[in-house]
Assembly symmetry: C2
Homo-oligomer: 203 residues x 2
């Protein structure tokens, strides 16, 4: 062994590739993105990508996994804070839209699950469910604490997820509002709703 197979160095290379891939995936969409284009963006040859990843699908899987772990870390951190559930929710929504929309590697990960190889899909879906459950747990504790209410917890979770995930389809960095303002607006709407009248069955 003349040269070390430094795992840290490998990890670094993988993250660099991830960053470029993530950017191209975001701009072109997964299918339209080409391996050549990702390589070109980094100023390297295509072969390098295949030295660190088995396939394009593996690259996508790594991309999604990284993002989901980031999200899970974020929600865990929010959970263990002493803030009220409503404030925890705000922190989570901020973290979520930032994670999906910022330039950092791993964004856009949620979408495009269909394109994953079956082998990876199971693992990703498990992480995804874990994140959704965590999110639902925050709502649930809010209800238990008496400061939130909702008739259908899973539905509420998915509605929230939809609102957050959809932002990647329209939000642009050069738009009129920043990510935090966006997140705060979503939270405000989600918490207090659009109706002026008192809610009907407020038992």
């Amino acid at each position: 062994m003349v040269q070390v197979m430094d795992p840290a160095r490998v990890q670094t290379r993988r993250m660099e590739i991830l960053a470029a891939a993530s950017a191209v995936f975001r701009e072109r969409g997964f299918h339209a993105a080409g391996m050549r284009e990702i390589a070109q963006r980094m100023g390297v040859a295509v072969g390098k990508l295949y030295y660190y990843f088995d396939s394009k699908e593996a690259l996508l899987a790594f991309c999604q996994e990284d993002c989901l772990r980031r999200l899970l870390d974020m929600v865990a951190q929010a959970e263990q804070s002493s803030a009220s559930p409503a404030l925890q929710l705000q922190a989570i929504v901020r973290g979520h839209v930032r994670c999906l929309n910022s330039e950092v590697p791993g964004s856009l990960a949620h979408l495009e699950v269909e394109s994953l190889a079956p082998a990876d899909r199971a693992r990703i879906m498990r992480l995804r469910r874990r994140y959704e459950r965590a999110l639902q747990g925050v709502l649930e504790r809010g209800v238990a604490a008496g400061c939130l209410r909702c008739a259908d917890l899973p539905l509420a979770t998915r509605t929230l997820l939809g609102a957050m995930n959809w932002t990647v389809k329209w939000w642009r960095p050069d738009g009129r509002m920043g990510l935090d303002a966006l997140a705060d607006g979503v939270v405000e709407q989600m918490l207090h709703g659009l109706a002026v009248s008192r809610r009907k069955g407020a038992h």
Copy 2:
């Protein structure tokens, strides 16, 4: 002219193709869907698809356009009813999730805009914006009428759109809830929110 080029017949054929294409697009996603598979689903040859459509992209464009026109009709109908804005909103959400999730042709249209040919994209985007504006108009009139409130109209519209569009990612016909129940749940949450406490700046 020995045989008539019956426009109605042509339209029928196009709609039949649309139905099959829409189904396959939904199951596999646009890129993974193959023209051969669409043809096979109908029990015809691939060539037939190209007799009625210029390309796969044109097929997608037709698919999206059909769905958007359906949505626009639906929202127009809701608008000219004498129901309260809140009830109009309910009707629209019901119509929207039904349109996106039911088996009828044209569903799943909103997503995959990236895959459109530039020529079609402009037309589709125009329809899309028109629909979003119509939706926003309903909210706006609700605010004007004093039964709705919202700090950021465009943001509210997009949040709602996100919640509705996201349903195609998780709702399944064999699940526990029907489409109308789903829609009603979304409306309830959107109108009255998740918070128990009085809203803060309720001027």
